[in-house]
């Protein structure tokens, strides 16, 4: 006799993988993802659009500042031009903007700073405005210092930048670790988001599949051959398998695209942009000392735990939610009816994502603790915490709660499912669902 669950898994998997949309999503997603990583770097490296600013500097505040390559400064002679003439000059010239610095009564810095005007032929960009403001602020500051009899160079030298090296002191001697908080934050957050995405995307597909079987009326044909729990389980596993395959393809494609692009197309550029975005990947390109630090940081993360945890919460969360969604799907006739039931089921996941930042900022706080124990949020919340080094009993407890809940939910969902798939044309209420548990 054939194993019916295997047959069902096979069908669920093949019908989805063979769809054109699967191929499309699988191929396009990594391209988009790679584009997200590459495009900002490419844009930043594009030759700047140089602009020239005409300056009517009545108090001679800026002179002889020449500006930068991007924003050049051209001075008008204040004895020949007033503001109106300068505006006319800008209109008839090929310059881009006009900066007007009035001298006012005497040389009052407070008057000057309040009355500076900037005209552009087009809208003034934030970048340009910030540049001008910085230049003027710097000048006025220096002027103020000079008036107080202070040498601006002395002030410049007195400025100090502090950079602290932080460590995590373990219980044992010699278990000091370089603190890698930013890396851990990024890792936890990305892993949590991936789990959230996976659970949401594929659990809803389970629900759709159940509704499809119900509306096409094939479900009774099927369950006269296999037990309802086998159909439910086969569907959950089959769609989960689709998800795993899709994820693997994405990882391979993303790595390949990233590798090819960074090696052949923009080698320097990508190392830089990656250095900003994902510190771990660009280690070789950084200075020696920093490189070592990053190596230490990576070493300070318990990767087997994080990877194992990721796999566990990835599947645990998916199984738990997909069983809930399967029960939901069985209870309704069409997807449009799913809304009233969807929200209570998905709310915990959304809360887990909304509180992700709080959990990251205080990974051992009470919110983080309880969120990572509650089984409907733990796959996301605990995943976010894992890179920070969590007491092992907490990880085990959270895992045990998740597994226990999974079995309880599958039992209950299976009961609702068994009744629900044979119910047609009935608007289901929560009360009704509760009754089905006792059939």
């Amino acid at each position: 006799m054939n194993n019916p669950i295997l047959l069902i898994i096979q069908r669920e998997f093949l019908t989805r993988v063979r769809k054109k949309t699967f191929l499309l999503v699988t191929l396009i997603a990594p391209v988009l993802f790679a584009a997200l990583m590459i495009v900002p770097g490419v844009l930043a490296s594009l030759p700047e659009d140089n602009k020239t600013i005409v300056v009517l500097d009545e108090p001679s505040l800026l002179i002889p500042e020449e500006g930068t390559e991007q924003y050049g400064l051209d001075y008008l002679n204040p004895t020949e031009f007033d503001l109106e003439l300068a505006k006319d000059f800008l209109r008839s010239s090929d310059k881009d903007a006009l900066l007007y610095i009035p001298s006012g009564e005497g040389w009052d810095p407070d008057f000057i700073r309040k009355n500076i005007l900037l005209y552009g032929k087009e809208d003034i960009s934030i970048d340009l405005q910030r540049f001008v403001e910085n230049v003027i602020e710097d000048r006025i500051n220096k002027q103020k210092l000079l008036r107080q009899g202070v040498d601006p160079d002395v002030v410049e030298q007195a400025k100090t930048f502090v950079s602290i090296k932080s460590f995590t002191l373990g219980d044992e001697e010699g278990s000091e670790e370089t603190s890698a908080t930013p890396l851990k934050m990024g890792l936890g957050y990305i892993a949590g988001m991936l789990i959230y995405f996976f659970i949401f995307f594929y659990s809803v597909q389970v629900m759709r599949g159940v509704i499809e079987e119900k509306t096409s009326r094939i479900v009774e044909v099927i369950i006269s051959s296999v037990r309802p729990y086998q159909l439910m389980l086969g569907k959950i596993l089959g769609i989960g398998l689709v998800g795993v395959v899709q994820f693997l393809i994405w990882i391979i494609l993303c790595t390949t695209i990233y590798g090819v692009v960074s090696t052949f197309v923009f080698p320097d550029l990508l190392a830089q942009s990656a250095g900003a975005g994902a510190p771990g990947m660009a280690a070789p390109d950084m200075g020696n000392v920093e490189g070592l630090q990053i190596f230490d940081m990576i070493r300070s993360i318990n990767f087997p735990l994080v990877l194992g945890g990721f796999a566990f919460y990835f599947f645990g969360g998916y199984f738990l939610y997909s069983a809930l969604f399967a029960a939901l799907g069985s209870a309704i006739d069409q997807e449009a009816d799913s809304q009233q039931f969807m929200l209570p089921v998905t709310a915990p996941m959304i809360i887990a994502i909304v509180t992700a930042m709080n959990v990251i900022q205080e990974p051992n706080g009470p919110l983080a603790f309880w969120m990572s124990m509650f089984p409907l949020t733990s796959p996301i919340s605990m995943m976010i915490r894992l890179p920070f080094g969590i007491p092992i009993w907490q990880v085990l407890l959270s895992g045990a709660i998740l597994i226990a809940t999974f079995f309880a939910v599958v039992g209950l969902a299976g009961k609702i499912y068994r009744v629900g798939i044979l119910m047609y044309g009935k608007k289901v209420t929560w009360k009704e669902l509760y009754k089905w548990l006792k059939y």
Binding site: S216, R217, I222, S225, L422
Partner: protein, 297 residues
């Protein structure tokens, strides 16, 4: 083939089946009849092990019903359908494999059936591209492909067009002659009268009468006779139920307490008797009779 002993099923407080005893003989074409909500589908789902009875036992052959028996049953539910996006051939093979056939067996038998019902061209089509009649044929093939010993059809001919109804009735008769036991469940009692040899009438979760159809009809006969003559006769007694003039002659329906030997002999002597027959009650007449007057021994 199937024996139910004191089978009960409740849904919350609603009684679907109340201690029913049924016996479906091997090789019979059995009509499981009753109005909507009588409990027919509940019993069918118990036979298919979609649900379990609360109390009582069901035997398949000699032994209690076992999970493996579902491979010996072919079931066409009232709510039926196919995966719309799946190709016909693939789908038929999938459903056959779920019933325990190997891939090779499934393929061979599917080919055979597709040829027999003239549907070879469907194989690579998607179900959503089939006409309703074509989909019905496919549905029928999926029901019988694993050569079940017991075939259960719930409201089999609703939604089937007349050509398919005929075709499939003939196929079912043939399968029955080859040894399969067939159960038709329907509330349209007249639709299966001509092909069933056994019936079970159920109402409100109880069996009202069960047995060989002919026996039951004889048991419930009420002395109604049909006489056709070539010339009008002068018969106006209370026994006359109706009379009409047909192009074949004059037809009279009489309801009598005794067999009308004298009348028939008399008409025959006059040479005007064209036809005479005792009218046995239809199943729906019997059903109404029992609902109104209770069952007869």
């Amino acid at each position: 083939m199937i024996t139910a002993k004191k089978v009960s099923k409740h849904y919350n407080k609603k009684v679907a089946l109340d201690q029913i005893d049924l016996n479906i003989p091997k090789g019979s074409i059995y009509g499981l009849l009753g109005p909507n909500g009588a409990g027919k589908t509940s019993f069918i789902r118990i036979m298919n092990q979609i649900t379990a009875p609360d109390t009582g036992e069901v035997f398949f052959g000699e032994a209690p019903l076992q999970p493996s028996d579902i491979a010996r049953i072919g079931y066409l539910p009232e709510e039926r359908g196919l995966y719309k996006k799946m190709k016909v051939g693939e789908q038929v093979l999938y459903l056959a494999k779920l019933k325990g056939l190997t891939a090779a067996q499934a393929k061979e038998r599917a080919r055979m059936w597709f040829e027999r019902l003239d549907m070879v061209s469907f194989w690579d089509k998607k179900v959503e591209d089939l006409s309703k009649g074509m989909a019905q044929k496919v549905q029928f093939v999926t029901t019988v492909l694993h050569e079940p010993e017991l075939l259960i059809f719930d409201e089999p001919f609703t939604g089937f067009d007349p050509i398919n109804t005929n075709l499939i009735k003939n196929e079912i008769k043939r399968l029955n002659q080859e040894g399969a036991t067939v159960i038709f469940s329907t509330h349209r009692m007249e639709s299966v009268e001509e092909i069933c040899d056994h019936i079970g009438l159920i109402n409100h979760g109880e069996v009202m009468v069960e047995g060989a159809l002919l026996d039951i009809r004889k048991r419930y006969k009420n002395g109604t006779y049909s006489i056709v003559t070539s010339a009008p006769i002068d018969y106006t007694g209370e026994a006359l139920v109706s009379s009409e003039v047909l192009h074949t002659g004059h037809s009279y329906v009489l309801k009598l307490d005794e067999y009308p030997t004298d009348l028939v002999v008399d008409l025959a002597k006059k040479g005007i008797l064209v036809g005479f027959e005792e009218i046995l009650p239809s199943v729906s007449d019997i059903f109404i009779d029992i609902v109104e007057n209770g069952p007869k021994a």
